[in-house]
């Protein structure tokens, strides 16, 4: 695959550094929108979007309810709410119970994006200490998308990538730098 309509990335323990490593390899003009869920404490505001924006020199925003997904943007899920993609390619927030003790949960984003984008989606699961994201990544594959799992041998915490590998065979198992390089080659596909 050389084109995609969107990229979704999930990470937990060790995820901030891993996100920097992957997103830092994308060119400044990278046009495919990127949506990220990083497990966060629920009860306080997060500075993740600001921190990423400063370090990456890209526009990074906390995803808002009913916001249209725009090319070239990086969105992160804010604390306390699940982030989903709707069929009309807008974002929505919700407060169902936490999944795998997490809200935002990676599975929410991955499963909804898999339904909205079908085969035009790339899903990436990175380091983490629980099983969130495994089912979502399998759904992306099932709906025809491309799946990438961080090599568990390299991951700071291997549980999350291993849980994903136990559930389905992804298209790629790569190091963080390999993931960044692969994503950097993607062109935005027409809607």
């Amino acid at each position: 695959m050389s084109s995609a309509q969107a990229i979704v990335i999930g990470a937990s323990a060790g995820g901030v550094a891993a996100l920097f490593e992957v997103l830092g390899r994308l060119p400044p003009t990278f046009a495919v929108p990127v949506l990220c869920v990083l497990h966060l404490p629920q009860d306080r505001p997060s500075h993740l979007a600001d921190v990423l924006q400063r370090r990456l020199r890209r526009t990074v925003r906390e995803g808002c309810d009913k916001e249209r997904i725009v090319a070239g943007m990086i969105y992160v899920a804010g604390p306390g709410y699940h982030l989903s993609v709707e069929h009309d390619l807008s974002l929505s927030l919700s407060q169902e119970d936490p999944v795998h003790f997490s809200r935002p949960a990676i599975d929410f984003l991955f499963e909804s994006a898999a339904d909205a984008y079908g085969g035009q989606l790339v899903g990436v699961l990175l380091t983490g200490a629980n099983q969130d994201g495994a089912a979502g990544l399998a759904r992306i594959k099932q709906n025809g998308g491309l799946t990438i799992v961080q090599d568990p041998r390299e991951a700071q915490v291997a549980l999350m990538p291993e849980a994903a590998l136990a559930l389905h065979r992804p298209d790629h198992i790569l190091s963080l730098s390999g993931i960044g390089q692969l994503l950097a080659t993607l062109e935005p596909s027409a809607c």
């Binding site: 804010g78 929505s92 919700s94 407060q95 169902e96 339904d115 909205a116 709906n143």
Partner: protein, 273 residues
């Protein structure tokens, strides 16, 4: 094999069947979230497909009431987002005092936590006695629990902390009686509260109000339904009345964006222009 597209078709049919049979309208709810909740219910009820669930729901009203508990989200706490209630107290209450009597609508009140929070705030500001609160929801079970005002004692530590951060002036435990692991809310808090079944999707405005609080409800609606709800609030609110929303909700993307101005934007407090 059931494909993802088949499931989407089945979900549309189920939602349509619910509307036709029971007049509960989920047709304009946000798709991703309702799909997840329906699929969760399919699993919990041990149905093979969404269509199998539809058959049971269509022929058994008690089954629908059970499903309704999955379709609505009773996530709430007292003084949720304490800074919001602090802003209400500091910025809105002084303006509310200028009206001789107050009507306040808590739309989508779920199990009542927002209602008791608002009643406590109004009482401490000396406004509760001249207020009427309308607490509405579509879920009769939630409304019944809201009326009873009995909550798990375990949650009270968190609520007391929220209350303190929200500018509470007393000891939060003065507002409830502890018994058998539960906290029973002081019943005089709901003397001026009317609990009523009301749907933002299908019902119309029932009263003029000075303040509408609708928190973490709009996120479950698509844009069309959000606009319908904002339209009801706009119609209900008196000149310069207040609309307060959940911490991640905004009127900015709606057709009514120009009809309201932000009073305290970070706390989602808007005022009719």
């Amino acid at each position: 094999m059931t494909t993802n597209r088949d499931t989407d078709i089945e979900i549309r049919l189920l939602i349509e069947a619910i509307y036709l049979k029971y007049s509960y309208d989920f047709r304009d709810y946000s798709g991703a979230s309702i799909k997840r909740r329906i699929l969760h219910a399919v699993g919990q009820f041990e149905c093979r497909t969404v269509s199998a669930l539809q058959e049971r729901v269509l022929h058994d009203p008690s089954m629908f009431m059970e499903l309704l508990q999955y379709l609505t989200i009773p996530v709430s706490e007292m003084f949720r987002d304490p800074s919001h209630f602090l802003a209400l107290r500091n910025e809105v209450v002084p303006l509310l005092r200028t009206w001789p009597s107050l009507k306040i609508w808590i739309a989508g009140c779920s199990t009542g936590e927002e209602v008791y929070s608002m009643a406590i705030l109004l009482r401490e500001e000396g406004l509760l006695e001249r207020s009427i609160l309308y607490a509405t929801d579509i879920n009769p079970y939630s409304l019944e629990r809201a009326k009873q005002g009995i909550y798990s004692l375990q949650n009270m530590h968190q609520y007391a902390e929220n209350y303190r951060l929200a500018g509470g002036r007393r000891d939060f435990s003065e507002y409830y009686t502890a018994a058998y692991g539960n906290a029973i809310m002081d019943s005089s808090l709901r003397d001026n509260v009317t609990f009523a079944d009301h749907s933002l999707a299908t019902d119309s405005v029932f009263s003029e109000t000075q303040l509408v609080s609708c928190r973490n409800v709009m996120i479950y609606f698509n844009k069309d339904l959000q606009d319908r709800a904002f339209g009801l609030f706009h119609e209900s609110l008196c000149h310069r009345g207040f609309l307060v929303l959940g911490s991640k909700e905004s009127i900015d993307f709606s057709a009514y964006a120009n009809q309201f101005e932000a009073l305290v934007r970070p706390e989602r407090i808007f005022r009719k222009s």
